[in-house]
Amino acid sequence: MKHGIQEVLAVSMTIAVLVGLPVAIFQNGPSNSGGNVRVIHLTGVMKSGVWTDEEVNGLNYWWKSFKPATITLQKGEEILLRLTSSDGTHSFYVPELGIGPIIIEAGHTKEILLKANHVGEFTYYCTTVCGECHYFMRGTVRVVRNTTDIVFSDTKISSECILHDPPENFTSFVAKGEYLYTYKGCVACHGEKGKGGVTNPNYVNEFVPQLDNLADKMKIYWEEDADTIIKLFESNVDFRSLEDEPPIDNYSRFLAQYQSISNKILNGSPIVQKLDTERPEPPLAMPAWEEQLSKEDINSILAYLISLYPWDEYD
């Protein structure tokens, strides 16, 4: 048999390629090369609406639902945050810690050193509208005195973004409004069932407005009037062109409020008044929905929010 040595060499080279190459690659993997500081690798995932510390790769990206990362560090500890985007353009913003907004484009990586000097829970946000789950894209930075002496509550920052095709038929405008409120992401800022409670750091009113009292804001004072208005929504009337005023109290005031609120949903409210002009921009602002919601969609959301009003408490 000729070429014996060449054969052995060829087999060795093949094995070197097949085995050596992956070993070399994974030894230089992205996870833990940060020198002396602890590295936390966060990946922005548009489809799940999260910054996650789970591994995101070409294989699992398409089927896995990723969870938002909770970053925990001790007071005074310095960590290296390595931020990558696995899909669209995201941003990372922790206003209370003076970080960002840092914009990270798809496939790019940015690193920031984070040193927290105050104990507490701070919310991080994505402030670049990155996809359908953008409004859910936030999480918590926990700064503890040490790992044992402080136990934080398991605060739920926002609902989970679950994308699926909408039902073909809704039983009512209220049902459709509830669906849109949840899946379009209104819930992420205005809270479950419009109860609010979501902090907007350095916003003059501290919290994002609650919406379960929308009926009150729209000058609807009676449950019967609320039902009438929801029925009018469902019959797709144009309130401005009604010849006969509907039998509800304060119709003209309701109409003014309806138009004002509808306009706010359509056009958004990009400027949020600061509590302290020296401190960073509040991260949450009402976006414009003109391109994404029809008039019927907006009326459905309003119908849902009106239906949330706790009439019984005021009887």
């Binding site: 000729k2 093949t14 690659i25 992205p30 070409g58 990558t84 696995s86 798809a106 790019h108």
Partner: protein, 496 residues
């Protein structure tokens, strides 16, 4: 016992029909200049004759492919930041279609790592040759070495696999994992088939890439051929086809004495080692020298390629968002639209374009007053026009892919997996389209070159088929209209 006795049937006298012996196919006479590159490039002949030649050219590719697979699975899902997508669908594709095929024939098949493991298992050797006997071959081969079924011994399966693959191209060219799945399946299938069937069955009959390489390699400006076919005919060993102690039998079952087209020669150069007469040349030759399509499978490959070039021009380069959404079903979930898209794509490729072509052939026969010549002969003869038309359209289509998106190559070489590496300091190289506003000019030029070759060959094919200049000229009219129509359609797609 009587019930067991049967009457002997009367034997009716039968007319014995003897089949007319099929005329031996003689190689097509060579036209145009030939220049043996082995004589002109010092050391080339010595290099390809090395036993390690094939291993040496495949190994670097195996290395790159391995990185691509790792990147596809473990790297970023962002297509333009993952070397798998950028290298395969921008760099490799452009080099393959615009450089390798027209200038180096099937050189890709010589360096392709996909059949590497199958070959290894079949030969149990990477460098050395095993003498012995295996079903008519003078090499010892391992595995079952069965014959591939005759009914599939054509490129129809390749046509189908390619069309299927292209139907899902919107996912293939954007999602690294899909490309991993497709290429991985090809490696696996090539390996499994090598254990069951003889030689490179996968490459010969199934590989979706091989099909269009075989067709477009006809245009290549190089060819591997016998220097003197008489020497081959007198050769007793036929080592090129059956192997010898110096070289493996041709993995494509090619006998050099009759090789007159590039279609099924993968340039693996085993014949250079096994030929006992030093009778093989690597010729430089004029573009588009092989002009004979020899089966409907090859003709339909031409139709499919033409239709796909049109479809991609509309989907990838065109403004229609709806069609893009239909094609990109995994993200849009527009299954109804995807079904329509698939139906249109397959109908255009398999029925509509061939139907229009058939209509032109009917007219050609009538105008040339050649209805006595079998339809098949005329159809296949003229179907060669699809080769220069299709290849140049594909090159024209691929130009913007490289020039607009080529800058991604610069960034992924520094960070092939999108892990934040910066090997060469170019990881953050921005997307920089090169002269996008001027790309239409080379595209137009390429289309016109394709048209020129189509028209020129249309006349030559006519002469060959009908035997007179007048008939050739008349017959060329419908084919010219077809070729001009196709070129105008592409011009419309590219210029908007």
């Amino acid at each position: 016992m009587s019930e067991f006795v049967t009457e002997t049937p009367e034997i009716e006298p039968k007319t014995v029909i003897r089949k007319r012996p099929r005329p031996k196919k003689e190689p097509t006479p060579v036209k145009g200049f030939r220049l043996d590159l082995f004589d002109w490039i010092p050391g080339l002949k010595k290099f390809v004759r090395l036993r390690s030649f094939q291993f040496l050219v495949i190994l670097p590719n195996l290395f790159v492919f391995h990185i691509l697979f790792i990147a596809g699975i473990f790297g970023t899902p962002v297509g333009n930041k993952n070397i798998m997508i950028v290298f395969i669908w921008i760099l490799w594709w452009f080099i393959l279609i615009a450089v390798m095929v027209p200038f180096a024939s099937r050189i890709w098949c010589a360096i392709c790592p996909m059949p590497f493991f199958g070959d290894w298992l079949q030969r149990r050797a990477l460098i050395k040759v095993r003498s012995g006997k295996t079903k008519g071959i003078k090499n010892k081969m391992f595995g079952r070495n069965l014959r591939w079924p005759k009914r599939f011994s054509n490129i129809w399966l390749q046509n189908i696999t390619f069309l299927t693959m292209c139907t899902f191209s919107a996912h293939l060219v954007t999602r690294p994992i899909v490309t991993v799945g497709v290429l991985g399946s090809m490696v696996l299938l090539a390996t499994v088939l090598a254990l069951i069937y003889r030689m490179r069955t996968f490459c010969n009959y199934i590989c979706p890439v091989s099909g269009f390489l075989s067709l477009y390699a006809m245009t290549a400006t190089v060819e591997l051929r016998s220097k003197d076919t008489d020497v081959c005919l007198k050769c007793k060993t036929k080592g090129c086809r059956t192997g010898s102690e110096d070289g493996w039998a041709c993995p494509w079952f090619v006998y050099m004495g009759k090789l007159d087209r590039n279609n099924y020669c993968s340039l693996c150069m085993e014949c250079m080692k096994s030929c006992p007469n030093d009778n093989i040349a690597l010729n430089l030759r004029p573009f588009a020298s092989d002009t004979q399509i020899r089966g409907y499978d090859e003709a339909w490959k031409g139709f499919i390629m033409l239709a796909l070039a049109m479809a991609y021009s509309i989907i990838l380069l065109g403004p229609s968002g709806t069609i893009k959404d239909w094609a990109n079903v995994a993200e849009t979930h527009a299954w109804g639209g995807f079904a329509i898209y698939t139906l249109i794509l397959w109908s255009v490729a398999l029925v509509i374009v061939p139907g229009i072509f058939y209509g032109c052939i009917l007219l050609t026969r009538r105008l040339a007053k050649a209805t006595h010549i079998p339809m098949k002969e005329v159809f296949l003869g003229y179907s060669y026009l699809l080769v220069p038309l299709g290849l140049l359209a594909w090159i024209a289509f691929s130009v913007p892919l490289l020039f607009v998106n080529g800058s991604y190559i610069i960034s992924v070489v520094s960070d092939p997996l999108g892990w934040g590496w910066d090997i060469f300091g170019t990881a953050d190289f921005p997307w920089t389209p090169l002269w996008p506003e001027y790309l239409v000019f080379p595209q137009i030029a390429l289309l016109l070159i394709g048209l020129f070759y189509a028209l020129n060959h249309s006349y030559q094919i006519g002469e060959r088929l009908f035997g007179s200049s007048e008939a050739a000229l008349k017959g060329s009219i419908p084919m010219g209209v077809f070729s001009v129509g196709i070129t105008l359609a592409f011009l419309k797609f590219f210029t908007g």
